[in-house]
Symmetry: C2
Subunit: 369 residues, 2 copies
């Protein structure tokens, strides 16, 4: 195996770590971050681990004007025996490159950036919390940096990875949420950027989410942008239905993010002989199934909460209750299995888990250089 | 009239100005810029003119992750008598606030930011070029700055105005371009952010634009995202058709940017007794009009080029030629009239033009403070 050189400059001034029980989501960052730059002549170059610090950009940098940027989100978990585990991290860098392709951003070397991430994690390993439900959230992202107001792809980019210890997404484990089915606003349409993890897809949902929250909903369920009929996904989660014994999730038709939790659930359920149907599912079908009494479970899936049972749906002023607002059997079993695998408590028959240091390409003696 | 206090710190190190004939678009910036900040407790505060310089942001600043940002684009023109003229700048700040509303960004005081812009222009007036077709491009923009990875509106923002001298958009005046009618990619759909001037709307078009350019097209014409049937707009321009004597432009149905040039053309044509029909227009109707021989003119409209005649359309492999690839009569007359008004060469019966210093709220004696 080759070694990928990364320059490392560590900080002497380490920050105090937050208490494990009171970690706010996404506002505390570790002592170091990873960066590398892109220029057409050199490609991606100068990989470096540096103290976490503000970055400096020209006010004309394209990221501020035309939104050419992509990101990822994954987590490092602390096992009971102290090992640090990642869940299918290669899938995140694959998806990063797929997002970049849509946004005309040059791809990164997936194996190499995974190695860089491992080095960063090795330096920051004390930041991975250990109590139930906590983890170290990993945010890789690429921004376009060329100072140029002409609309078009940037010539230069910066790739960064920042790390943030996060607490339990839901205090006290999973609990069913109420979701508003959005009729007015659209997240994505075929031919748009819905399948890419890019900044503009998120702020475009704020109005709908704020309206939904005002009325007591946890988030919105997006319908397709064309017919406002077929179910797509929730804010940052894919969605699954169990109706009359059939487990269904919307097919990836180009406007839905290809969730790694979604993918893993499909594989897991297959191994349990409970195949998932990936197909179009209309909100009407769901409401009909409620009327029939055939709707059994609804749950969102994503890195943040893994499984988020849906207890209530709210569509056109009509509320339906799923499974008595209780956690469904499949939801609970999936949650226990996936979080069990992620934290090294359960066997990993799929080879999903990657252990820190096991896969690192270059020895830790490099880190003092 | 009230005066709006803005702190001013000027630079001693002025940059050399580019030659008027060789100004590249959007890569040269003036010596100073305007900034102000937003925090919930203080609202927009600390307006200041400072030397043009890089800005510093936390890598977790929301602009890098969730794309919550809006911008504007307008120009300052130098009249033959040396005066500096703006074209309906209040409309740009109105539209900025409309965009901000869609993106959950707090509004700015429109009158006040126009005054701040005037002060900045007064300091930078030597940067406004004078030769035919040149101008000083003005880019106001707002970025979300809170360091927080939780998806949702930022608590803090920075508003900036940067200035860039720009050359003639088309060397040697306007000339007809070839436009590709896009079938695969979608720019916007009703319920999305198409009516807002926000970053994500632009990078999402890069793939389509690159494909179109490879085949010799200047830009793409977007169709509606639902039926891929109705014409919306070009990359950074609205579009007009003259068919059998009727002047038509797509109605603003929520996915199209409300162009200020478009608005002005509608008013101007009305004053000429040539009313514009704002309605749905399908690409099929345009192709039928070509077959009928009733298509007379097609032109794009926007701040960059004002009028950009379309000489050829390319849809599903079928090319049609408009007006023998020549500039149409209305196109030319609109171009001459609007650029004439903008540069103070023609009378301005509409009161569109705002002169620098005429409308400035506080005396220039403040500028030395
Ligand atoms: C829009 C969207 N959908 C779905 C997901 C779930 O994807 P994953 O399971 O990879 O976290 C996410 C979160 O990453 C998301 O942002
Ligand atoms: C998407 C889009 N449409 C249309 C326009 C034309 O608008 P305006 O005439 O205000 O420049 C622009 C440019 O600002 C634009 O970005």
């Amino acid at each position: 195996m080759s070694t990928y050189n990364v320059s490392i400059s560590t900080t002497a001034q380490k920050k105090p770590k937050p208490s494990q029980d009171q970690v706010p989501f996404g506002t505390v960052f570790t002592d170091h971050m990873f960066m590398m730059d892109y220029e057409p002549e050199q490609g991606w170059h100068d990989p470096r681990i540096v103290p976490y610090a503000p970055i400096t950009l020209d006010p004309a940098a394209m990221i501020f004007h035309y939104g050419q940027t992509v990101f990822e989100g994954l987590k490092a978990y602390r096992a009971d025996d102290g090992r640090i585990l990642l869940f299918r991290p290669e899938k995140n860098f694959q998806r990063l490159n797929q997002s970049s392709d849509r946004l005309s951003i040059p791809p990164v070397d997936e194996e190499r950036v995974l190695d860089h991430l491992m080095k960063l994690l090795d330096i920051e390993k004390d930041w991975v919390p250990s109590t139930e439900g906590t983890s170290l959230y990993i945010r890789p992202f690429i921004i376009s940096t060329e100072p140029n107001l002409a609309v078009g792809p940037s010539r230069t980019y910066t790739f960064m990875i920042i790390l943030s210890p996060v607490g339990s997404y839901f205090a006290g484990g999973i609990h069913p949420v109420t979701i508003h089915v959005e009729e007015q606003f659209t997240r994505a349409t075929k031919g748009g950027t819905g399948m890419a993890k890019t900044a503009g897809n998120y702020s475009s949902g704020y109005q709908a989410q704020a309206n939904a929250k005002k009325e007591g909903n946890a988030d919105v369920l997006w319908l397709d942008g064309v017919e406002k009929k077929y179910i797509e996904e929730v804010g940052s989660m894919n969605i699954f239905f169990k109706i009359n014994g059939e487990i269904i999730t919307p097919a990836l038709t180009g406007s839905i993010l290809k969730g790694i939790t979604r993918m893993s659930i499909i594989e897991l359920l297959k191994s349990w002989d409970m195949p998932v149907t990936e197909r179009k599912i209309s909100i009407e079908e769901v409401y009909r199934a409620f009327a029939d009494g055939t709707i059994e479970e609804v749950f969102g899936t994503g890195t943040a909460a893994i499984i988020s049972p849906v207890g209530e749906l709210n569509w056109q002023g009509r509320k339906i209750t799923i499974n008595n607002r209780e956690i469904g059997e499949i939801s609970q079993r999936l949650y226990d299995t996936i979080t069990g695998i992620q934290r090294g408590k359960l066997e990993d028959p799929f080879g999903w888990v990657v252990e820190l240091n096991e896969n690192i390409q270059s020895g830790s003696n490099l880190y003092s250089s």
